[in-house]
Structures are given as C-alpha cells and as structure tokens.
Amino acid sequence: MSRAHAGLRILVLGNGYAGARVAGMVASLPGAELAGFATAQPTAEFGDVPVISPDFLISPPGIAWVRARAPEWLLCINTTVLLPSALLDALAGKALNCHPGPLPEYGGLHAHQWAIRHGARMYGVTVHRITPRLDAGPIVAIRRFPIRDSDTGLTLFRTALVQGVLLLTTVTTRLVDGEMLAETRQDPHALRLYRHREALDGRIDWRLPARALIDFVRAGNYEPLQSPTYTASFVTPSGATVEVLRCAPAGETRAAPGTWLGLHAGAPVIACGDGQALTLVRARVDGRILNATTWRDLIREASHA
C-alpha cells in the first residue's frame, strides 16, 4: 500500500531512552510528523517540536493544547501516567500504549519480574489501544522473545524497552502507510494486573524449592541500579542483611531448609525446601560484594551471635 498520508501528526509520551527513541523515530519517519513530545526528563530535542511535561499533558490546559495541536495519534512508551478520559476524547481514542509485557497475562507494574519468578521461558511486549481501564484495551501488536537463564529483573526490563521501541516502530510505519490496524479484544477475565505493593517483599524463604529461589533472586536483581521493588535478602543471626544477587544449584541435601552447609569455592551453600541446596554466587552487605574472606568473617560473627 502506498503512503496515503503526507505527514501523519503523532504526539509521543514517553520517558528516558525508549521515549526519546520513539520520538526520534517519528521525527525521522517519512510521512510522519512529530506533533509534540511529552517527557519527564528531556534529553533530546527535535528542532522546533514542542517538548512538554507529562503533568502538563494530562492537565486541562494540556488537553486544550492537544486539541489545538490536533495530533492524529498518541504513542506512549515507558510511562506510568494515567491518561484522563478528557484527553482520550480529545484524541478520539487514537492512542496506543506499548506495555512492557505480554498481555493479557502480564499487565500492570513490574510484570517482567513476575515472569521470571514464575519460571516463564518467554516474555513479550504489547501495543494496545489505550482505554480508561489500565492495560485492558484491544491488542494491536505483540512481540515475543525468550527469557534467558541469565536474565535478571534489570536485563529483562532493558530487553522489553528495546523490543518495545522496535514494535512501536513497526506499528507506526503501518499507520503511516494508511493501514487499518487489526485489533484483538482482551478477555477481561484473563487480564492479570500486577500491583507495586505486591512485589515489595524480598525476604528469602528457604522452604521454597531451589528453582523458585533462583528465579526469585534474579528477578529482584537490578545491579547496579536500585531495584524498583525488592532485592532478595536474608538476615544473619548477627543481624547483617545479606542481599543475594545470584545463586546456583549445589546438589542434593538432607539438611533442613535454611541450614548452612559450608563454603564451596568461596561462596556459602544453603539448604532449600525441596532437598536441594543453593550456592550464593554473588551477594553483598551494605553494598559491598562478599568474597571468601568476608563470607568467613560473616559466618564467624553469626556463629558467635
């Protein structure tokens, strides 16, 4: 199909790398025109294109500004701003969000961490119509990719951002080409919305199976950033909080869950709830990575506590 539009006016709302990439894509895409860029921390400029804050965008003056700019589409990525109905009305419903998770099974916040915790082998990103109900609009496109054994919460989130930019680029190209986007309605009963408060408890429960603990640990690993939810941790008898960043299977054991089985290659081995043990390959106390010497010191302190 030929490009039917000579400048499809598109407004972009998005933060950070992903927001700037999508705005840049629209600005450089033949047949598209960047009508404005709403972002919390502007790091890129696109000529005389207005750059506004997300707070302004959803305010009454911002909605009036949108009506005056008359964009034909709004594209959202890497933002948690909830769009008011008045803004959606101003856009005649022509608003798309790129959600960093496959819908309907992984909606809401921190869904990538839950996918790792669930032992999922595949993840994805979804472009959907924005409706008043969070992440519930009809699906326009979905892109799936594998979760690697080495993925952490941070690496999977990074992958979702990069894949989201690619998917939104594909969808935008189709819009500019004048294509009618096929939409798939979501089953409202299948939509799972994860909430921030559900993901804050990082305490390690050694009664869980070893595999579940490995996934719990890596899902919470945002090194070297601060995790937005939790970092898996436990408190030693001497009161030190140990943050665990990576652990690995260490074979079978008959010891009770939580029993320390000694050091292996300089890292402690601890019994889990399914007759398996784990080696704490990478962990830290007060931000400092533990090595064989510091582990021995920690164990000695704990035994005297």
């Binding site: 950070g16 790398y17 921390q41 990478r282 830290r284 931000g287 400092r288």
Partner: protein
C-alpha cells in the same frame, strides 16, 4: 574484579559514556566522579545511559565484572561493558 575487556573496546565505550553524560548533566564530571553519589545521575538516567551505550557500541553491560561499592564512576561503568557474543 575482572576487567579483561580489550582496551579499544573500553576506550570506545568510555568515549560514548562521556558524550551521553554530557547530554544528561550540565554539572562538571570526569572519569572518576561518583555519579550517583554526586547527584549527577539517578536510576532512570543510569538505565538510559546503559541502553544508549549498548545501542551505540554493540557491547552489553555486565555489572558482575565490576564492584561499584566504592562509587559508580564512568571508568568503572566502562569496564562493565563487554562485546556482544
């Protein structure tokens, strides 16, 4: 900590980090400035920095190569990037 990344890669990554940092922050810094502690970066900006450098360099970020306990500097960040497999 292991820092066996080849020097040409590390120099390229360091140059990219410096360029992106100059865009992100108007405050002065050098390779040894602790970026988080000095308030030059927050978590979102650091994530953006990592993504920009991965995209521009073809390298991937591996935080286990470096201990950031003594401060997150451009020099240490550069040492955490490795060529993609």
């Amino acid at each position: 900590m292991t820092t066996t990344i080849q020097k040409p890669y590390r120099d390229n990554v360091l140059a990219l980090l410096t360029v992106f940092m100059q865009r992100a922050s108007a405050a002065p810094f050098d390779d040894a400035t602790p970026l988080l502690e000095a308030g030059l970066l927050d978590s979102q900006a650091l994530l953006d920095l990592i993504l920009e450098v991965e995209n521009a360099s073809g390298c991937v970020f591996d935080p286990e190569r470096v201990d950031f306990a003594d401060g997150l500097t451009l020099h240490r960040l550069a040492s955490a990037f490795v060529p993609a497999q």
